[in-house]
Structures are given as structure tokens and as C-alpha cells.
Symmetry: C2
Subunit: 248 residues, 2 copies
């Protein structure tokens, strides 16, 4: 049985608490949130606190707060040699300044408040300073999920940049597509199947092989026609991405 | 029963032939391909030709050739008042210069050679010059699919630009993510669940609501860290898209 304290109550923390409460081999010993009223409803199920000085003893402290707050929060976890991890894709292991052992427990997914999460589908990117701690993190991750990766801090940073492209920037492409449709009263949902298929394809095709379209074909006439329909910012993006596709 | 002649033997044509051959209420009267040897294997099932002068009589001629060839091919369909349609997202109705009636039969999807297609999931964007022809196209589309949209040529052009963003450019974002991972030996498949979720979200969230990440949060430190890890072209794209997200 692994005892876990969850620090924070944002999207990641909430989904982790839900999953850990249902998991065998895991006891959620305590949940910390700065605003105690936000976790009031958890009191029946689990101990709660809004004071880092009052953290209970546990095998694993999971800091799931905003990136900027990780260092400060970790510095308050004193006089304990227990394992402290954070859940961020972009913060290094060194940013943890607790007195004890350190690690990373990064579930690589875009979490939404109201959307249920299937942790079996989510990769856990784990890192620790020693092998025993890595084993502990693996046990915690496999208690709620299936996909376990050992990713060091350098790789995790790289992965996070890649995630910005395949998630944040992809979503922005959807946004532009949405805007372009709206301008001419075209229902955006006509594009849903294409969006789904584009994402599905990448599981069995290399993105270079999967590339199609006027940029790839160097179909200048279509490219010109498209540019005519776009506003300044959209044109800039269209041109830059077309060029980048053509340069491979 | 609707009799159909399919002109062309690219990805779209192949998938349409397969689907129409299985459909009730549709007879595939003939398949045309410039290179007769490519359709040799169809001979057992359906009449074939490599001469546009020898096209059989049919209710519907579907031109599924490359965009550039549509006008020339349509001009060869003479002495027939039957309905001629093309399957392209970016070519206008006027580009059809057959003597008879004209229309559009555009299945909005990215077709791959070896990947099976479920036409029930694919939107058919239909256009015709008169109501009877639109009804005919609806019948042909519902014989193999379910999602029928009436999209005029202006809307279709707009839709095609939007499709470039949500398909071609999204795939290029995957490509950059893939490159960034490769540089540091990070397995790209760690990102598959995120890619899937990003696409799935857009079916129930507006892309503006779905936007997350350092650009949206204006997290300058993370943005700087990310730029340090990218090459020149990647940096340009990162900066431009970050700015565009921030300007809404």
C-alpha cells in the first residue's frame, strides 16, 4: 500500500485524486489546497488541509500546482525525507527544493475540468533520482494507468515543446478553420470527421508520409486562391507553414 | 436504380467504386481510366474503358481525377445531357465544361491508398444547378453514406481552406513534434493519446475554449525555454502561432 498526499486542486490534481481514491494499493492520506473551501466537499472521504506545515506523513507527495508555484510549495515540505514529485511537463527536477527525495510524475495529457479522464490511455512520464524511487512511482502510476515511460528532464522538456505543437498549435489550426468557416456560414462540424481521421492516421503513418495538400503538391493556383480568402494573420500563417512543408 | 460512371482511378475514385459496387440502388455502369492496365482487374466486375469517347450512357458521371484535369476531362463528355459532377473541394462548378448538367459530389475526407474508408463517417458536400439533380446526388450519397450537406461553390472553397488548416497544417504540426522528439530520442508515440484527445475535444468544445498552453497563459519563461530548443524555422512558426493565439 502506497500512501499519497496530493498538493493542489487544479485539473490534474482533481483527476488524480478521483483515480487514486478508486485504486487498490493506494491510500490518499491527505489533500492540500490553499483555499480550504474548494476541498470542503472532500472532507468526508479524505483528510484535507490548507497548511503545508500540517502535511501528514506519506510515501509520496504529489505537487500538482501551477508551474510557477512548484518551487515555493516544495520548499515548504521540510523535515521529511519522503519522495516529493511534481506533475509538470516543463519544470525541471531541480526546481523541487524540498529537503527529501525528488521525482517527476507527469501524466502527458490535456486535462479538461468537466471531461472524464481515462488514465489507462494516458502516458505517465516518470523520473526519479534513484531506482527505488522510480519503482515506487511506477507502482503509483500502474495503480491508475497502464502506459509508463521513463523520461529524463531533458527529454521531458523536448516532449513538452513537441506537445505544444501537437496540442496547442493544432488547436489553433482548428480555431482558424473555425473562423474561416464562420465567415461564410459553413458549419464547422463538416470538418469533424477530417479532424478525427488526421489524428487517427498518425498512429500508423509517419507525418511526412501522411502529408497531403496544395503545399505538398506545390499547387500554386490553389495556394493563390486560398490566400485570397484569408485575412492578414491567416495569410502569414498559411505562407509560413506552406513554405515549411515544402522545405520538408 | 441510379447508373453511375466513374471517371478516374485515384484514391477517391477507388474508394467510391468499392462503395458503389456494394450499394443497393446503384449500378456502376463503367469505370474510365487513362491507363487501362490499372483497371484491368476490374473487368470481371464492371465495364472499363480508357476512351472518353466510349463512355456508356448513365444517370451520373463522377469525375474523380486531379483538379487540373477536371476541365479537360469534362469537355470530352459531349452529346449527353446527363449529370456530370466532380469530387474536388477546390474546383468550382463552372470548371465543368461538359454540354449537360453539372454538379459537385465532394466527400470531405483525406483518403489514403491502403486505409479502409467508412463512408458513413464522411460528409458529402453536394451542389447542383437544379433541385432534381440535387435529389439525384442525395440518393447517390445516401446509398453509400449518411452525412449529407448542401454546400455551394463559395462555401466549398471556404471549407477547403479550412480543411487545409485542420488537416494539412495540423499534420505539419505533428511533423514538427515528431522532429523535436527525434532530436532527443523521445518516442513520438508518447504523444499519440494527446493528439487523439486534442482532436476529440473539438467535437464538444469551441476551439477558443479548448485553447491551453504557454501562449494562452502568456507564460514568457516557458516560451523562452521552448524557443531555445527549436531550430530557425521551428522558432519562426512557434513565434507566429504564439502571437496569433495571444491576439485571439
Amino acid at each position: 500500500m502506497i500512501s499519497v498526499v496530493i498538493i493542489g486542486y487544479g485539473n490534474v490534481a482533481k483527476h488524480l485524486i478521483d483515480a487514486f481514491l478508486k485504486a487498490d494499493n493506494i491510500t490518499v492520506s491527505q489533500v492540500y489546497c490553499r483555499s480550504i473551501n474548494k476541498i470542503e466537499h472532500l472532507k468526508k472521504t479524505v483528510a484535507t488541509t490548507n497548511s503545508l506545515a500540517l502535511l501528514k506523513d506519506a510515501d509520496l507527495y504529489i505537487i500538482a500546482v501551477s508551474d510557477d508555484a512548484i518551487a515555493a510549495v516544495s520548499s515548504e515540505i521540510k523535515n521529511k525525507n519522503n519522495l516529493v514529485v511534481h506533475t509538470s511537463g516543463s519544470v525541471s527536477l531541480d526546481s523541487l527544493i524540498n529537503t527529501g527525495r525528488k521525482g517527476i510524475f507527469y501524466p502527458l495529457q490535456s486535462f479538461s475540468k468537466d471531461k472524464e479522464v481515462n488514465f489507462n490511455e494516458i502516458p505517465f512520464c516518470l523520473e526519479a533520482e534513484n531506482k527505488d524511487d522510480l519503482v515506487l512511482l511506477e507502482k503509483a502510476a500502474t495503480a491508475i494507468g497502464k502506459k509508463i515511460y521513463h523520461i529524463n528532464s531533458t527529454q521531458r522538456k523536448q516532449l513538452h515543446v513537441a506537445a505544444v505543437f501537437v496540442n496547442n498549435f493544432v488547436n489553433h489550426m482548428y480555431k482558424i478553420g473555425h473562423d474561416v468557416c464562420n465567415d461564410f456560414n459553413v458549419p464547422f462540424d463538416v470538418l469533424h470527421p477530417l479532424i478525427k481521421e488526421t489524428a487517427a492516421k498518425i498512429e500508423f503513418l509517419n507525418p511526412t508520409e501522411a502529408q497531403t495538400g496544395p503545399a505538398k503538391r506545390n499547387d500554386k493556383k490553389t495556394i493563390e486562391n486560398h490566400l485570397d480568402l484569408l485575412n492578414d494573420t491567416q495569410q502569414k500563417i498559411y505562407k509560413l507553414l506552406t513554405k515549411s512543408i515544402q522545405n520538408g
